[in-house]
């Protein structure tokens, strides 16, 4: 019988703990596939964050390093400076990357660290139970913003891919999503491109992926996919915000 689909060899057989309808699983697969297809997996060190993907070190089939909340880009810097020829990536959520770890990611980009950051943005703190994130939309409800994010009190969401795109050391910054097949293919290409650019030591590469959180959004998985398209993408437009390949 012909194999028409199989789990990525870049992932382990450990059963993932993610909620139904959450797109972490898809993003894990895209990252793992990219590493396998580029033949980088055996030479990769991944850095897992604190957040829903805290157990990512059990899921990726390569050497993995846990980091404290927000510190993944600093940990990855340490790893990459020891192993300049290895592929090093961080996998971080919005609380991890855009709140407690803002300084770390901005400065990793500033230094042009040759690492890849996969930034999973679902506009909420998932693991701790649906608190407001820096990327929570104005008006969006969260357990620490029960009436919805009030702009007068909390300002507006942070646009990380755009911010990273402004930094000299960044080689590539893009925002993609995985809510349907065409977008999944684009996300796959973006992640592959980021790793490819890292291999070529071009600088810091950053892929923001708009993701879902049915559990904390209080929506069904299907509604969640629609909410990303209809609402989230209005605030966070998809696109490439920096690509030094294009400039040259």
């Amino acid at each position: 019988m012909a194999v028409v689909y199989q789990k990525s060899t870049g992932l382990t057989d450990v059963e993932m703990h993610y909620c139904p309808g959450c797109t972490h699983g898809v993003i894990h697969k895209l990252v793992a596939d990219a590493l396998v297809e580029l033949d980088l997996l055996d030479n990769t060190v991944g850095v897992a964050p604190v957040g829903c993907s805290v157990f990512a070190y059990n899921y990726f089939n390569c050497d993995m390093h846990e980091a404290a909340h927000g510190r993944a880009p600093a940990v990855a810097t340490g790893i990459k400076r020891v192993l300049p020829d290895n592929t090093v990536f961080t996998y971080q959520g919005d609380g991890d990357l855009a709140a407690i770890g803002t300084a770390e990611v901005i400065h990793a980009a500033m230094r042009g660290e040759s690492i890849t950051t996969i930034f999973v943005n679902n506009a909420i703190y998932g693991m701790t139970g649906g608190q407001m994130a820096p990327t929570t939309l104005v008006g969006q409800k969260a357990t620490t913003a029960p009436l919805g994010r009030d702009q007068a009190h909390y300002g507006q969401p942070l646009h990380m891919a755009e911010m990273i795109g402004l930094i000299g050391g960044a080689a590539y910054s893009t925002r993609v999503t995985v809510v349907d097949m065409p977008n999944m293919m684009k996300a796959r290409n973006a992640i592959k491109k980021a790793f490819q650019m890292q291999r070529e030591k071009k600088g810091f590469t950053f892929v923001e992926v708009l993701s879902t959180c049915p559990t904390n959004w209080g929506l069904t998985p299907v509604q969640s996919l629609s909410w990303v398209k209809d609402t989230m993408m209005q605030e966070f437009p998809l696109g490439v915000f920096k690509d030094i390949d294009k400039k040259e």
Binding site: N43, C62, A68
Partner: protein, 355 residues
């Protein structure tokens, strides 16, 4: 070997390079700036890496990443900066990673002062960050000793897979003294099969981690760490005891105050009082049994802790002495250094109290 005049901070940095350290991550703070400055100039010359991080928090996490990848790695800072590093030190301890951390202490709390102090003793010897853990703490009293402890510290860190801290007051960092370099081999550093270096398709993935979500697993991990700490206690205690016969009063001091206590011993001798100095070199593990045996001697009437703090090490002194003799105290804080006269007077007070 030829003697050379070295400033403490620069000597520590040079000693690290000589000990095979090739990765340094730091952040500026007085009075330890000469360490990162020296590293920035000299690391590239030996093919090493110096990175000035965006914060002490980032610096220690770079150390965490580099240590996980098997590097002989180091950071340095001073008190407020070391506070910021505590998160990372806890992770390093939890994930059982070796590294060397240098704290050139200044006065606190808060921004405090840039003048020398020893007010971080609790933080250093009790773990400092969250969780049940220890780091080996080495306390130099001379520049030569600081240099020797750098090599020793890296080796201890590798041997036990745990962070080691050199705890020195600002005076040790800033002063100059003669140093003799004892060149040591660095081509036989231990293999680190656990490091995350890429599987190369040759082995199962390595994971550097301190998260054990299952409480039973978590307890087992803590028990494992504790067994290691007991082993360190059994094997790695270092101290210096200069206790004359008929010693009436024993000073206990580390770092610069140990030197001042030695001066006080002379002052007292001129006044006909026999005093001695017990200098813990490892602050954790503290040479508890060794100090207890000395305190027990019949001639000893009192023990006096001398610190540049309001009294932190004195707790360990009291634990060690365990009530067999009274424990007096001479302490200065906020960057003020006790004079030998003040130290001697504290001894006389303690003796009065003991009679």
């Amino acid at each position: 070997m030829k003697k050379e005049l070295w400033k403490g901070n620069e000597a520590i940095a040079e000693a690290a390079i000589r000990a095979g350290c090739r990765h340094f991550f730091g952040y500026p703070i007085t009075p330890q700036n000469e360490i990162p400055e020296y590293m920035s100039l000299h690391m590239p010359k030996v093919g090493g890496v110096f990175v000035q991080a965006e914060s002490e928090v980032a610096a220690i996490n770079m150390v965490y990443g580099a240590a996980g990848s098997g590097a002989r790695v180091m950071t340095s800072s001073s008190s407020p900066g070391i506070s910021l590093k505590q998160e990372g030190i806890s992770y390093l301890a939890g994930a059982e990673l070796p590294c060397l951390i240098v704290n050139i202490m200044r006065g606190g709390p808060g921004l405090g002062t840039i003048q020398p102090a020893q007010a971080d003793y609790y933080q250093a010897t009790r773990g400092g960050g969250n969780g049940d853990y220890r780091v080996i703490v080495l306390a130099p009293a001379t520049i030569q000793e600081a240099c020797d402890q750098v090599r020793d510290g890296f080796d201890l860190a590798d041997k036990y897979r745990m962070p080691v801290m050199i705890l020195a007051d600002g005076m040790i960092g800033q002063m100059m003294e003669a140093v003799e370099w004892h060149d040591s081999k660095v081509d036989d550093l231990p293999e680190k099969a656990w490091a995350t270096t890429g599987t190369k398709g040759q082995r199962k993935p390595n994971i550097i981690n301190s998260l054990f979500i299952d409480p039973n697993e978590s307890e087992n991990h803590n028990l494992k760490l504790n067994r290691k700490y007991e082993e360190v206690k059994a094997n790695e205690i270092r101290y210096e005891a200069d206790i004359p016969e008929d010693c009436e009063v024993v000073f206990v001091a580390y770092g610069t105050p140990a030197r001042l206590a030695r001066a006080a011993v002379r002052v007292l001798k001129e006044e006909g009082i026999n005093a001695g100095l017990f200098r813990p070199i490892t602050l954790w593990p503290f040479p508890e049994r060794e100090l207890h045996e000395i305190a027990k001697r019949d001639s000893v009437k009192a023990v006096v802790a001398v610190e540049m703090s309001m009294g932190q090490m004195i707790d360990d002194v009291k634990i060690a002495v365990n009530g067999v003799k009274p424990v007096g105290f001479c302490g200065k804080a906020g960057g003020i250094v006790p004079t030998p006269r003040e130290v001697a007077d504290a001894a006389k007070d303690a003796l009065k109290g003991a009679r």
